[in-house]
Each structure stands twice: as C-alpha cells, then as structure tokens.
C-alpha cells in the first residue's frame, strides 16, 4: 500500500473514531473495507482512497469508519432495532408467550456484549410486565477472547458513553476504577455468552423467538449468506423474528425468510403461521393505510379531490 493512502486512512480513522491504525494493522484495511468498497461500486483500496480524497463524501467516510471499528460495538447500536424490540416485539411476546412465560433471544456475533446487554436492559426497564417471566438472552461470538470480555461486562469510559443514556449507566453499571465500568449482576444474569461460529453447525442451541444477526452477512459471499440464513431458519420459532443490519437483506439469498412489511430490518419465515407474533394483516389493508398516512402524493391527490 502506498504511503499516502495509508496516511489518508490513518488520519481519517484517527479523526473520526480515535482508532489508531498501526502499520502492522494495514491488513485490516483490506479485510474490513472490502464490503464498503463493494457497496460503493469501487474496485480496490486504491480506488477507495482516491474517492475519499476527491469527494469526501460523508456516507462513504462513515462506512469506512464503521467498518474499521466494528469491534468497538455500541450500546443500542442504530437504536431502531431496540425501539422495535421494545415497542413492537415485547408486547407481542407478552401476548403470545404468556402460557409459558418464557422467551429466548440470540445475539449472534455478539462481540463484546453490548447488543445482548442492551436487550437485557430493555427487559429490566419493563420488569413490572415481565414479573414471573424467564428471559434467556444468548450471545455468541467467534472469538473466545471477546466472549470472555462480554461475560465480564467490563467497559471503558469511552464504551459506556457510546449509545448508552446516562440514566442507564447510573441504574445498571458500577464504577470499578477510574476508567472502567461493569454492568450489574442483575443484568449479567439474564445473558449467557458462548463461543460460536455461524459457519459451523450450531449444535443443540434450542429455538429462539428473536435473533439479532446484524452486520455479519456483509462479510460473507453469496452462497455463505444463503447457508447462514438457512441455518438460522432452523433455530427460529415458527413466528420468530430475525433482525439483520441496515445494509443487509434476505432478498435473492433465502427462500426461507421474507422482510416484514412496515418494519425495516425485521424478517420473518415465509411459511409462518398466522396465529403467532405479528400476524399478517389482510392483504391490502396495511398498504392502503400506510399510503394515506405516509405518501405525500396520495394525500395531495386526496385533498385535490376534496377541493374539486
């Protein structure tokens, strides 16, 4: 890699994320930025550097930074998937799982645990409704080192400020020393972390009501994506919900899952029953109501008619 390209990436990452890109970490650029290069229709790292230099296009810069810092996961990353859990799925779980008072969530590629713990904190926030319930949250990651970190629930001052509201820090964390905070036992008890590779047989993991598998598929080629989605379809409840990352989809990759209409990032089994969580509405109804409330064109057409 040319010195000037290395300098460009190093400066960019330092500025935007504080990440220090040592000369010995140059190989990371190649592996982490390949999905970004593909997404933006470029061919190589050189082309990417060239594009950054000439355009300084904000979404591109953001994607580069995100891709290089994925190990530094955020609490409540992207916020929307957690709002959806709290507002859309939790009421449905409470309704449909009432007989057993039990549900299970899988945070696949859990990294240092922020996603799993974020979900556990949402459950804790709704403790009154979940009184007498058992909630299992399982986090898995490739790296045994990172699984161990996740288990400990120890985070730097930087990490506890990324995505985590201060009120949650006060409620659910204790300060261990000047720079370290640890998530409380009450939250840690809700989450189990294990080593696990999405490309291998999952083993006897049981069935999950909700699976978060975000920003993982982007690193795989097409056949592998299909394989992983097939495998996930075998461990998800018939009415379960799969979350993928913002840049990911099942379209053209899976004959098992389909997007859930009106809920970005959420996917359900194609042959799901109509009796479980989020039952499918009658064919035309949701589309019609969505059109009248969200499409300015339809609203305009309607109001024009009213004027006439």
């Amino acid at each position: 890699m040319k010195q000037e390209d290395y300098d460009l990436f190093a400066t960019l990452l330092k500025q935007r994320s504080g990440l220090v890109l040592g000369r010995d970490k140059v190989y990371l650029l190649e592996s982490r930025l390949t999905p970004v290069i593909r997404k933006h229709g470029l061919k190589s790292l050189e082309e990417l550097a060239q594009s950054i230099r000439s355009k300084r296009d904000e979404p591109l810069l953001r994607d580069v930074t995100d891709a290089m810092t994925t190990n530094e996961s955020f609490f409540f990353r992207d916020s929307k998937p957690f709002d959806q859990f709290k507002d859309v799925l939790l009421p449905e779980l409470l309704r449909t799982r009432a007989p057993k008072k039990y549900f299970r969530i899988w945070s696949a590629a859990a990294s240092s645990g922020q996603e799993a713990y974020s979900l556990a904190m949402i459950c804790a926030e709704n403790a009154a409704q979940l009184e007498g319930w058992r909630v299992d949250i399982v986090g898995t990651d490739l790296s045994s080192e990172i699984v161990e970190r996740a288990r400990q629930g120890l985070y730097s001052q930087f990490e506890v400020q990324r995505g985590l509201p201060i009120s949650y820090l006060m409620k659910y964390f204790s300060q261990v020393n000047n720079d370290r905070w640890q998530i409380n036992d009450s939250i840690r008890r809700m989450v189990t972390f294990k080593e696990g590779n999405l490309l291998m047989d999952f083993g006897p993991v049981g069935v999950f009501d909700i699976i978060y598998c975000r920003n993982v598929l982007i690193y795989f080629d097409q056949p592998t994506k299909t394989r992983v989605l097939d495998a996930l379809s075998r461990v998800i409840a018939p009415d379960g919900v799969l979350f993928l990352g913002g840049a990911e989809t099942v379209l053209g990759l899976s004959d098992k899952f389909k997007p859930l209409e009106g809920q970005r990032g959420m996917y359900v089994l194609k042959d799901r029953p109509n009796s479980g969580m989020l039952p499918a509405k009658e064919k035309e109804a949701p589309r019609a109501s969505a059109a009248t409330t969200t499409s300015p064109f339809v609203v305009n057409a309607a109001s024009q008619q009213a004027v006439r």
Partner: protein, 121 residues
C-alpha cells in the same frame, strides 16, 4: 435553527466541540465560564448547553442551578461535559436538572449518540 452554547474555560476544548457541533449543523456560541454563559442564556436561550464543570468565576453546577431557576431556563437541554467521572458527580448533575452527561475525553460519536438520545438531531 438549532443553537448550542459551548461553555468551557479551555479554548482548545471549545474549538474541538464547535467543530463537532457544526458538523451536526448546530449554530454555536461560546462562553468561558458560568457567568458569561448565564448572560448569554438570559439574552437568548439556546437549544442546548454543552457544559464544563470546573471553571473560574462561576462553575458549571452553579450555572445549572441559576439557569434552571431563571425565567425560561428549563427549556434548554443541558449536557455536562467534564473530567469529573465518578457516580457522585453524575448523580448530583442529574438531580439538579442536567439532561445528559459526558465524561471527557469525548469524540464525535459520543456527542452524536448523546444528542440523538435527547432528540436534538
């Protein structure tokens, strides 16, 4: 137009914060201590105050109490941004009407995530 009053006795910190906040499309004003900040607020309340704690003349906590007691002073969101990083200070800040709390050092991601939680972005 969203406005942010940056209150810090360090010129360097004010400059870094201003760069980040301008990227997030805030119009920024600066104050070097709590007294200057209070005067600025009484002229015109900003959308949000990014507030250091330890400053000469009037510190961040004194400013916060005076702001919240003044007419219209409950409107601005107040985000502490300080090297004080223990639970006692955090609790004191929140009990006195702060909306969020940032422990220095900070970066763009931290400011962005805290501000978006407050519905400012």
């Amino acid at each position: 137009m969203k406005t942010c009053l940056i209150v810090d006795d360090s010129r360097v910190i004010r400059k870094v914060a201003r760069q980040i906040l301008e990227t997030l499309r805030f119009t920024c004003e600066e104050a070097e201590d709590g007294k200057q900040a209070l005067e600025a607020c009484l002229r015109k309340m900003p959308t949000v105050v990014l507030l250091d704690w330890n400053m000469p003349v009037m510190d961040g906590m004194q400013f916060l109490k005076a702001l919240r007691a003044s007419s219209g002073g409950r409107a601005p969101k107040v985000v502490f941004c300080t090297t004080e990083n223990d639970m006692k200070h955090i609790q004191e800040a929140m009990a006195n009407g702060a909306d969020e709390y940032i422990m220095k050092p900070f970066d763009m991601d931290i400011i962005q995530s805290k501000f978006s939680q407050l519905g400012l972005l």
